[in-house]
Amino acid sequence: MRKLALDDEILLNIEKPARYIGGEVNSVMKDKDKVDIRFAMCFPDVYEIGMSHLGIQILYDMFNRREDTWCERVYSPWMDLDKILREKNIPLFALESQDPVRNFDFLGITIQFEMCYTNILQILDLSQIPLHASDRTEEDPFVIGGGPCTYNPEPLAEFFDIFYIGEGETVYDELLDAYREWKKTGGSRKDFLRQAAQIEGLYVPQFYNVTYHEDGTIESFLPNDPSAPERIRKQVVMEVTDAPYPMKPVVPFIKATQDRVVLEIQRGCIRGCRFCQAGMIYRPTRERRVETLKEYARAMLKNTGHEEISLSSLSSSDYSSLYELVTFLIDEFKDKGINISLPSLRIDAFSLDVMSKVQDIRKSSLTFAPEAGSQRMRDVINKGLTEEEILTGAGEAFEGGWTKVKLYFMLGLPTETEEDMQEIARLSDRVARRYYEIPKDQRHGKCQITASSSFFVPKPFTPFQWASMYTAEEYDRRAHIVNEEFREQLNRKSLKYNWHDAQVTVLEGVMARGDRRVGAVIEEAYRLGCLFDSWTESFRNDLWMEAFRNTDVDISFYNQRERGKDEIFPWDFIDIGVSRSFLYREWERALNETVTPNCREKCSGCGAAGFGGGVCYESKN
């Protein structure tokens, strides 16, 4: 029987002890004496969030297919256990073997959002691994980061040995093979990092020096070691259908956020919304073959026992065999008590028909993401959704029996005027009006329109990477303008408006486009006690502000400043395959309120065709 790292007394006195015991269905156990490489894979948030992440499941499966490697999982201990581990000096452990992470060969951390940065330091600290890569010795694991935030890894540069830029399926095998050889020869830590740096897509931050101009912008960003290339090329799997996919994902005992089978139907998005980082960094759009997905659905439902299956992609409606796939899922599984969940669908006749089959209309709500209230603003962000489409879709939904609609917006977008802000309320009201056009005897009471806005954060590798942000006060002012306008609306009693926290937005902005100097702020914030910053109950803006003061880092330099056309950005050394000139062209088109067609309508020459596949070559087959 497995021995747990925590004793009964601890487990009985913390919230949800199941987070820390491992042993779930489909978790992988191996004999540690029979493997060469031990890999701890971490999602730096609480178990229920981390277990819902598809990327880790893919890598977990892929690594464990290797006979020489045992990959295990690690998540952030919640505050209650965090305190106990520190008090009792218990090192953080991996779930499967319950062995301390510091004894592993690798600690891989997926970095999915900016507000998890202090949690990364918690993982290192509790594992008793030095926070700075430069302080680590041959005794410590190699700390490797991956995920979307590594498209600007610079704020975290000090804390990682290696960053893997791009999709994990391509060069991890090469890295692990190199590691096994290096371990045999007994070389130095630096020797291995030099080998890693020569693998395409891997970035070893300590092999680069940054110099700054007097105004604080970057003067130069250059390798200081012959093994390190000047540019790091993002990794992409071109044959997504053939890429490894976990047929037996781990099934948690406790309810995870994503408690279902997840079918990733495609990568990338053809739409080209100018605020969206995922839409740029995952180019080109690549679809999985529908026949393969059907097999996957069958096998994964059988192997997990889940009662729900969900499709995953950035824009499911753009998947070319969607009709065939959804029809199959309904025919095959609906009678077996399996729920089918279809997120990110455009609302039209087809999706309404499908949704009426898979969900209880009276209980469920429909979601639209117009992102902006006015057509002008939607043209600026290149959101190809017209008001007519929204109102038609909503109208059809109302006539089909739905009464609840959710609308998602962004505030603080580039060029935004007061008029644009107010249009959020007015558009919501027009959706409600459409409902009340239905004769009274044919509708079901009142409708409920819930509008939510988040504040826009410019992300690296988007046309808006040049855009400036606002202060927290200014964001709040804008939200209040919208809120006031909601009160003026005819159907205000059917409308509800929520907005995001502005303080978090400001921090997200600094982390998203920060440089190496921001690392000191993260470390100081962590020392002051910041942790689980994405959880409202634990977010401490006052401590973050103190951290900025103590480290003498100026928020306005990162957020409010206008960036020049040719400024060297901290992330410029990464080559995502989409050219900087395309992004700048898109930025200019945004300012001119000019819409750019999507990848299927017309190629805009972003550069992703250089990968030699996907949507770029669809019509050429």
């Binding site: 497995r2 009985l12 042993g23 192997n303 008590g337």
Partner: protein, 243 residues
């Protein structure tokens, strides 16, 4: 068609709470292809009811739940398939056919449960075995029982049907079920108070051994295990042979 499943819970799985054990078995049913029946309606769910929830931290050799089946399945085959779909820490022990009547579900007929309580620290005095006997010889043992809304004083002595010292542990058979239910930790709390020691200073491991229904008549208790009320299903072939 109704089936009663008996299982044991041990090791790390002691830290999985009751609701999660239910979720776990729902997924086991699907992985093992057990022909379980669903309720109607837009969001159908499996027809499954547990005899008595087991608290976090407890292990057990005698947990039960009843399910409704759409078709008969060989008992041995069902046990085999379910265990293949289980993990270390949960083991299915039997799968029996039970009577159809609603009032025969494990939850309704549950009357008593056996527990084994083992002290985990040496906070107890050396002569705790003798002391426990003395404690049990009291005509009444009053404790404050917390309910959701209020707390009341009850005499728990009549709810302890049997007890004995087994090596380093205490065996007790307590009333269980919806009308009267006595958890062993309440007994041990009272015992600690009897000894005059801090309740927190002494930890016990609680293990449920078995659960019973009362088949006695006229106020006379006659306990039989929930498992004994069911019988094995055999495959059609075997039946033909015996016919």
């Amino acid at each position: 068609m109704k089936a009663r499943i008996k299982f044991r819970k041990y090791g790390a799985l002691r830290f999985i709470g009751h609701l999660d054990v239910m979720r776990f078995f729902q997924k086991v049913m699907r992985r093992a292809d057990i022909p379980i029946a669903f309720t109607g309606g837009f969001s159908p769910h499996m027809i499954m009811s547990f005899a008595s929830p087991l608290g976090i931290g407890l292990s057990s050799d005698g947990e039960y739940f009843d399910i409704e089946l759409t078709e008969q399945i060989d008992s041995r085959e069902a046990v085999r398939r379910m265990n293949q779909a289980c993990v270390e820490g949960i083991e299915v022990l039997s799968f029996k056919q039970i009577q159809e009547e609603k009032k025969m579900t494990g939850m309704t007929i549950l009357a008593a449960a056996d527990y084994l309580v083992t002290p985990k620290t040496d906070a107890l005095p050396d002569n705790w075995r003798e002391q426990f006997a003395e404690f049990m010889e009291q005509p009444e043992i009053h404790v404050i029982k917390q309910t959701k809304r209020s707390e009341k004083e009850v005499d728990i002595r009549p709810l302890i049907y049997k007890w004995e010292i087994r090596d380093g542990s205490i065996y007790m058979q307590n009333a269980a079920g919806s009308s009267e239910n006595l958890k062993p930790d309440l007994v041990m709390e009272a015992f600690c108070r009897f000894l005059g020691i801090e309740e927190d200073s002494c930890m016990f491991h609680y293990h449920r051994l078995e659960m019973y229904a009362d088949t006695g008549k006229g106020g006379k208790r006659r306990l039989v295990t929930l498992e004994a009320l069911g019988k094995d299903w055999e495959t059609a072939d075997e039946k033909k042979d015996s016919d």
